[in-house]
Symmetry: C2
Subunit: 398 residues, 2 copies
C-alpha cells in the first residue's frame, strides 16, 4: 500500500481523529444531589452565579484553563494553498492530536468559512470566553500577520501563530546546534531565507532579535532589498527590506545564495534548490529545506551536492525541523503560566533551551534537534517561559 492509501484507510476507519469526552460519570439516582443535579440544573446554577460575580472563576470551574482554539480559514493549508476550511479540518484534527498527546491540551479545530480580515478578527474575539489561548494556523499571508497584530492588542489571552512563531523557534533551535557543530558564530555567517510569508517573516524576526545581521530574504520576485523596483507589496516585506540585506544584493535566489553559509527554505516550492546552487554556497553549507509535504530539495541530493548539515520538516528524514516539536509545549506553558501575550525574546529563549537539550555527546550532522516526543521538552519550555515572564514582570515594575 502507498502512503496515500494508508492515510485514507486510517482516516476512513477512525472518522475523526479527536472526540469530546465527558469527565463525569452520571449515576442513576434522582435525589437532589445526583451527579446530574450537580453538573446540570439545578446545581450548575450556583456555578453560573459564582462566575457572574467573579469572571476569573471561569478558570477554576470550567475547561477554559486548558482549551486552545485552532483557527484556520483554509486559505493556505500546508503547501497546498487555498483549498478551503473543510480540507483544512483533517490537518487541524492532526494538530489537535499532537496538542493532546504531547501537551495535554484540549485544542478544538475551528476551520471557518470566514475569509475577510475583519470577520476573522471578530470571530476570534467572540470565542475568547471559552479558550485560554488561541493558535492561528494556515491562514494566507500578509492577511494573517495583520490579524495577529490586531488580536495581540485586542485579546487578553495569548495568540500563538504557529506558522510564524512555531517555525521560527524550531528553525532557530536547529540553527543554533548546526553552528555549534560547525563551531561558528551567528554574527559571522550569511543566511538566505527563501519565502517571505508567515514562516519567512517569523524566521527573519527571531534571527534578527538574536543578533544575526547578514540575512537575505527572497520572495517570488527575488531578493528583497530597500528600494527594489518590483513592489514590496506589504508592510512586512518593507520591514524585511529595511532590516536585512544591507548591501542591497539583488537578483534571483541563484544569485544571492552564492557564498551563503545557511539556506532556509520556507517557500512552499518543491525542488526549488538544485545541485549547482548548493555547490555555490560556502563550505560546510547548512541546508534547511523545510517546505511540507515536499521539501525544496531532498536530503540525499543536498548531501550529494556538498551540504554538510541538512534538515527538512518531515518525520521520515533525520533532523525534523517541524513546529510540532514546539507548539504543544509552548501553548502548555502559556496556559499554565496564564500568560497574556508572547514576546520575541520569549521565543529566542525557548529556541536556546530546546537546542541545549542536545548534548555535545549526541550532537552530530544527523542529530541537531530533539525528537518531537522528547519528554524533556515540556518541562524545559515551561521553565524557560516562566523565567521570561518573571523578567518581563520585573522590567515592567521598574
Amino acid at each position: 500500500l502507498t502512503l496515500k492509501e494508508d492515510a485514507i484507510n486510517l482516516h476512513r476507519m477512525v472518522r475523526g481523529k479527536i472526540e469530546i469526552q465527558s469527565r463525569i460519570t452520571l449515576d442513576n439516582t434522582v435525589e437532589e444531589k445526583s451527579t446530574l443535579g450537580l453538573i446540570y440544573t439545578p446545581g450548575v446554577a450556583y456555578i453560573a452565579r459564582e462566575i457572574s460575580k467573579n469572571k476569573e472563576l471561569v478558570y477554576d470551574y470550567t475547561s477554559k484553563w486548558n482549551n486552545v482554539a485552532i483557527i484556520c480559514d483554509g486559505t493556505r493549508v500546508l503547501g497546498l494553498g487555498n483549498i478551503g476550511p473543510e480540507s483544512a479540518l483533517p490537518v487541524m484534527e492532526g494538530k489537535s492530536v499532537l496538542f493532546k498527546v504531547l501537551g495535554g491540551i484540549n485544542a478544538f479545530p475551528l476551520c471557518i468559512s470566514a475569509r475577510d480580515k475583519e470577520e476573522i478578527i471578530s470571530f476570534v474575539k467572540a470565542i475568547e470566553p471559552v479558550f485560554g489561548a488561541v493558535n492561528i494556523e494556515d491562514i494566507e499571508s500578509p492577511k494573517v500577520l495583520d490579524i495577529i497584530e490586531r488580536l495581540k492588542n485586542e485579546l487578553s489571552i495569548p495568540v500563538f501563530h504557529d506558522d510564524q512563531h512555531g517555525t521560527a523557534v524550531i528553525t532557530f533551535s536547529a540553527l543554533i546546534n548546526a553552528l555549534r557543530l560547525l563551531d561558528r558564530k551567528l554574527m559571522e555567517i550569511k543566511i538566505v531565507i527563501s519565502g517571505a510569508g508567515s514562516a519567512g517573516y517569523g524566521i527573519y524576526r527571531i534571527l534578527y532579535e538574536a543578533g544575526c545581521r547578514d540575512i537575505i530574504v527572497t520572495d517570488s520576485k527575488g531578493a528583497i532589498y530597500e528600494g527594489r523596483n518590483e513592489s514590496l507589496d506589504n508592510s512586512y516585506k518593507k520591514e524585511i527590506a529595511k532590516k536585512t540585506n544591507s548591501k542591497k544584493l539583488c537578483g534571483t535566489l541563484t544569485d544571492v545564495i552564492r557564498e551563503a553559509d545557511v539556506f532556509i527554505g520556507v517557500s512552499g516550492k518543491a525542488d526549488l534548490l538544485n545541485d549547482k546552487m548548493v555547490k555555490s554556497m560556502n563550505p560546510d553549507a547548512v541546508v534547511f529545506a523545510l517546505s511540507n509535504p515536499d521539501p525544496e530539495m531532498l536530503p540525499a541530493n543536498a548531501l550529494n551536492a556538498g551540504a554538510r548539515i541538512v534538515a527538512t520538516g518531515r518525520s521520515d528524514f533525520p533532523n525534523q525541523v517541524n513546529n510540532a516539536l514546539v507548539f504543544p509545549s509552548i501553548l502548555r506553558a502559556l496556559l499554565d503560566l496564564r500568560a497574556k501575550t508572547i514576546q520575541e525574546d520569549m521565543l529566542v529563549a525557548v529556541a536556546k533551551a530546546i537546542a541545549a537539550l542536545v548534548t555535545d555527546a549526541h550532537l552530530k550532522e544527523d542529530y541537531i534537534i530533539p525528537k518531537i516526543n522528547d519528554p524533556r521538552i515540556l518541562p524545559i519550555v515551561n521553565q524557560t517561559l516562566k523565567e521570561a515572564l518573571q523578567r518581563q514582570a520585573c522590567i515592567s515594575q521598574h
Copy 2:
C-alpha cells in the same frame, strides 16, 4: 453539605466537565508510514487534497459527522438572565456531557461574547465547515427566534433550538400522557401557557400543529390577544395573538387561568402560581411548572391545592419535563440521517413516540414521562425522524 457546596466542590475538582481526547495512538517510529506521518504531514496532505476535490468527504475523513456546536451568548442563561458567556460555560459543558453520555455526540460549547444579531448569525455561518449540526442555547428572545429563522434558511446543516424545539417536544410528550391518564382529548381542553419567550413560543407552535385550539399565552403584561393595548412588541407575539385566544380573554394570569385544564409555566418566575390560582382551575388540573432552577410552584404545594398531575423541569422531583430527555437523541438522529433541517411535524412525531414509551401498565400521576437515561429513547427517536424524513422526501418528489 448544601447543594451549592457540593456543586462547587465537584466543579473545582474536575476543572472542566469535558475534554478533547485523541482517537489515535502515536507510535515511536520515524518511518514514512509512522502514525504521525499518516495523521499529520506528509500523509494528511492526501486527505486534505481528496476533500478539496469532493467536499462531502469531510463527513468520511473527519469528526464533522458527529460534531455539534452549542452556541450561547450568555444573555438568558437558565432562569438567571443575562449573566454573560463565561457564566454560561459551566451550563453548556453540562449540556455537552449529556450530549456525549446520552447521544454519543461531540458537542463543543461555544459561549461567545458577540451579542448583536447579525454578528451571531455570521459567527454560526462561519463554523459550518466543522459541525454536522448546531444547537442554539440560552440566547434572549425574540432575538434568538430571528436568528433561528435566518440560520434555517442560510445553513445547510440543521439548527436545533433547544429552548424552543426541545422544550416543546418534551412538554407535548408529557401532556399527551397526562391527557391519556385523564382520558381527555387535546381538542377539548383549555391550556394556559405562562411565558412568551422561546419556550412559550415553541410550546404554542407544537400544540397548535397538533390540533389544539383553546390556548392562551400570557407574558409580563397578561394574556396575549389580537388588538391588545399593551404592545405586542415582536412578530412572534403577534403570531401568538393571531392563532390563540380566539375569545380575546384579557387580564392577568389569575384572570385567565380560571377554568383552565392545563397550566404550562415557562415564565422564569419562581412562585408565580399560588393555591388560589390552582383551585380556580377545572377539576383534574394539570400543572407543569417548568421554570429552572425554581419552578412556578413546588409540586407538593400544587398537589395540595388540588392539582391532579404535576411536573417540573428538575431531576429531584417526579415527572421531570426537561429537554435533556430529547436533545441528545434528536441531534443524534439528525446527524445520523444527515438531515438538513427540522420541521414542526417532525417534532410532533417525536413527542408522540416518546409518550408511547410509557405503557398503560406504568402510566400514573407521578410517571407520565420516561427517565432521561431510558435506553429506548435513542432508537425510537431515530426511527421516528427517519420515517418523517422519508415522508418529506416522498412529498417533495410529488
